[in-house]
Subunit: 232 residues, 2 copies
């Protein structure tokens, strides 16, 4: 059954306008039909439609289920690409594969210092519906790298950069079951001082293998590696 | 140094029109400059520009190097998505991550039975330039699944489908150093009889983990898993 996701939903509330429209006009539901609504915080509501109103459906909750939380925490901090489509594509794929939080970062060599948070949140919502995720990934406003570095408290933290230093493969360095932060730089890479600062804070520098990957591909490959590490 | 890729290049030949235009108008090279040309079959030519003509540069080869072949062979046979952008995106990412051959397949539940091979080849070329690949991935015309199944001779062959049968994770099932074929079905999945036929031919059915992935995401994740298996 198709999932409706409304982050503002709670029992007694009216379904949000966007999902109500979808429910009535696209899914063609009528009064008395059963639907499934997720609030993005792990609650799954089986609801009966009391009034199929495209501006706001009235629902009665018949069953509430708390869905299991993701088995691992992954925060991806990525410098958004000059061409924003590529970054937005990463956001979609990361949600499908599994990510808890995405923080666009501003770095010394960043070519883009703005993102539209509302657009990114819509992409997260659509990807979560598509891939039946009951816990929505959080997306942050663009954050200076130094601020991120001082506030993040993940148990294992990695910086991926292109300078030729001896680096362990992320697939080997990452440990299962630990909350994880991965930093991915912009097209022009992290600066030397940014890398040094990260290393000074205990970040581990890692590689994704011998291939030269675009920023968004590297971010997606790293997301997949952390997912695999936690699956296998 | 930026790589120029011309699959028709050989010593003595004129550089193709597309790359000549790029070389003279975008990279702004002049007579006497040194450039690097790849033929996509592993040859790397360091060339001096004799005549910087945007319709066809004349070059003299100063050094030929045979670049090492990829360390593994991966053929991805994927049902193209209804929205072709998603399939084309997969082609780009697969080339970056590493793939030897991409075969679009026609299956029972396929919603798309045509692809534009010239467009796909252009995407392969652009991604190979971007990620400095000296061996171009081959792209096939769309091929009926049964034809592919009878002609493919890879050492290990996997079918990924969504039916709930006990399946090993591809990351565990795939072995390093063996030529590999991975089959990825359309949005509506492979049919039961397609899966049975594959199993009868010795294909192994595998999973990519618990998440529900779109066709193109599954294809990209599988490409990445085979790459990782061969790196670690």
């Amino acid at each position: 059954m198709e999932l409706l996701v409304d982050p503002s939903y709670a029992p007694g509330a009216t379904l949000c306008a966007e999902e109500s429209l979808h429910c009535v006009k696209v899914m063609r539901h009528r009064d008395g039909d059963l639907i499934v609504v997720a609030d993005g915080r792990g609650n799954r509501y089986e609801c009966r439609i009391e009034k199929a109103d495209p501006r706001g459906c009235q629902l009665s909750v018949e069953r509430i289920e708390q869905m299991p939380a993701p088995t691992y925490k992954l925060r991806m901090a990525v410098a958004p690409t000059k061409n924003i489509d590529r970054f937005e594509w990463f956001v979609e794929k990361a949600v499908e594969i599994g990510v808890s939080r995405i923080t666009p970062i501003e770095t010394e060599h960043s070519e883009r210092t703005r993102v539209r948070l509302d657009r990114l949140e819509r992409i997260v919502l659509a990807a979560a519906k598509q891939s039946l995720k009951y816990h929505l990934a959080k997306v942050d406003e663009i954050t200076p790298l130094s601020d991120l570095m001082s506030e993040d408290e993940s148990e294992q933290r990695f910086i991926l950069h292109c300078a030729e230093t001896p680096k362990e493969h992320l697939m080997k360095a990452a440990q299962k079951g630990r909350s994880t932060l991965v930093l991915i730089g912009p097209e022009g890479d992290f600066s030397l001082s940014e890398v040094e600062k990260a290393l000074g804070l205990g970040y581990k520098e890692c590689t994704l293998g011998p291939e030269r990957l675009r920023t968004e591909t590297a971010a997606m490959v790293a997301t997949n590696i952390i997912a695999l590490r936690n699956q296998i």
